[in-house]
């Protein structure tokens, strides 16, 4: 299951469509860093609304994506973590420390636009 990535101005939006296997997540990590480089993006939104769960591997991979993109000088925002998924993550001991999160795509975009405007 490939995750489609859309370019929206200086930002990239990756929308997870269904449950992801480990291989899908590793592929997403590679695809995101490549797209950030080729598109010269300033910010990335990863919409995880459709993810059924977020276990240790998924959260570690998302953290790695955010860290790699940060080293490229761009921002990453994870949006759409479902309430029951968030509950399970905290019980499991996952905090996604250092990763910016937002309620949904709209909030994520307005966060990036605000930051981009104030930086400009």
């Amino acid at each position: 299951m490939e995750v489609p990535v859309l370019k929206q101005g200086p930002f990239l939006i990756a929308t997870v469509q269904a449950a992801l296997t480990d291989e899908d997540l590793v592929h997403l990590r590679k695809a995101m860093i490549e797209r950030v480089v080729t598109s010269r993006s300033l910010g990335v939104i990863i919409d995880v609304t459709a993810m059924d769960i977020m276990d240790s591997f998924a959260s570690r991979t998302l953290c790695e994506i955010a860290q790699m993109i940060h080293l490229r000088g761009a921002d990453t925002i994870i949006v759409g973590i479902q309430p029951e998924v968030a509950f399970a993550m905290v019980q499991l001991g996952i905090t996604l420390e250092g990763v910016v999160t937002a309620l949904d795509l709209e909030e994520g975009l307005s966060y990036l636009k605000e930051k981009f405007d104030s930086d400009a």
Binding site: D22, I53, D55, E84, A88, M89, Q91
Partner: protein
């Protein structure tokens, strides 16, 4: 009733299949979305342990309990076994370079949790979650 669902675990795709089966059973027993997600997350972690450490194994999922619905999951493999179960149940411990949330994390998600392991024979992790 009380059918046993057996999901062979050989690749990362099987991890998704196992947790989806677990969630479906939990929902069919009337578990809340939250509790069903806890069950699915626990299964995902145990199935990944199988793929990471033992390469292959099986996840058994069954409903168990009469007056109050319960899900029982057994994750079995014939891998190397766990040398020190007490250590493996400590937060932050990992031999694979992962986060080390594995077993202690799973224990926090469920109601009953048991690990039986023999060096060179394999590991069986059993958990139960009751409908709240």
């Amino acid at each position: 009733m009380n059918n046993i669902i057996r999901v062979p675990i050989n690749t990362d795709k099987d991890i998704v299949a196992a947790r989806q089966q677990g969630r479906a059973l939990a929902l069919s027993l009337g578990f809340s979305e939250t509790d069903s997600t806890l069950v699915a997350t626990a299964i995902s972690e145990l199935a990944r342990n199988i793929v990471t450490y033992a390469k292959k194994g099986v996840i058994q999922i069954q409903s168990n309990g009469n007056s109050r619905p319960c899900i029982q999951v057994i994750a079995k493999d014939r891998g190397a076994g766990i040398a020190n179960i007490k250590l493996a149940l400590q937060d932050g411990f990992s031999t694979s370079g992962s986060l080390g949330l594995g077993l202690p994390g799973v224990k926090r998600l469920v109601d009953e949790f048991k690990v039986v392991s023999k060096i060179g024979k394999g590991t069986a992790v059993t958990f139960k979650k009751w409908k709240s």
